[in-house]
Amino acid sequence: MSGESAVRRSFLVFPLEDRRFALPTEDVVELSRSGQVQRFPHTSELLDGVMVLRGGILPVWDLAKTLLGESSATQKAWLVTRCNYSGDERTAIPVSGECQMIHAAALPPLQGSPVYILGVLKLEDQLIEILDLRQLGPQPGEFPQQDLHLEKKDAVL
């Protein structure tokens, strides 16, 4: 975003520990209050595990660890966001508390801000950074093709 934008847009403000951040609402699919992270061995640093939501399996992105350096101690809800590495894959992001939607004009990012900061919002005398999830997440790479053909016939143990 360059220059002060007079256009008011909708943003979702969410807490990560004692800080608040914002996302453009078009990046957010829903807010889920139920869910449990299921973990398995992996080496993808930004991810915590997966979550099952209405039959779909979503990767859980530990955004607190990405932005603040450590995982959030409390996870009260999950934002389901559009952060597509390929196709329509959605991502669950745990947040620390209540979220709020606001309609405001975004200010340009502060000087020296990382590339993933789209701008800032002024809310209750605080400046809240607007995130660009596409710049924060790992970029799509070449994946080894997964072999989903398990067996041709059952074996008897």
Partner: protein
């Protein structure tokens, strides 16, 4: 008036994958039953006299501790899964049960690390997500690391 069945007498059965569920540390994983030749429990096996039971190793069989592959600390498990191929046996903590599933999915694309080689995909057992071990790929990775 024509009578008779509109549908086949014996409805088609979708091919199911039979999986063995097992535990490694806090993680529950699966392996296709067709890849297993034998499951060995270590309790009946030889002890070195240090109070520690070790798995029997057959000729030409390579033992892989799955805990070590996933960089988990803790005691090596008490169960060995002997594979039909690759002259390979996997040391795990315990075997839970066998399930059938017709749905195997790829890992979400967000996962871009070694897990894409460790696992062939993921399946669901109820609401639980269970990764399916890719023994062939793990064996190849260990061979590469050993060189």
């Amino acid at each position: 008036m024509k009578t008779g069945r509109w549908k086949p007498a014996c409805p088609e059965v979708k091919a199911a994958n039979t999986l063995i569920l097992f535990w490694v540390g806090p993680y529950r994983l699966a392996i296709p039953a067709a890849e297993l030749k034998e499951i060995r429990q270590h309790s009946g096996l030889a002890s070195l006299g240090r109070g520690e039971a070790v798995p029997q190793k057959r000729e030409c069989e390579r033992l892989l501790a799955v805990r070590a592959i996933f960089r988990l600390s803790g005691k090596v498990g008490g169960c060995t899964l002997v594979l039909r191929e690759h002259a390979l046996a996997l040391q795990v903590d315990r075997v839970e049960r066998m399930i059938e599933t017709s749905v195997v999915r790829e890992l979400p694309n967000a996962f871009q690390g070694e897990e894409r080689l460790w696992f062939r995909g993921i399946t669901m057992a109820g609401d639980s997500v269970i990764p399916i071990l890719n023994a062939k790929a793990i064996s190849a990775l260990e061979n590469e690391a050993a060189r």
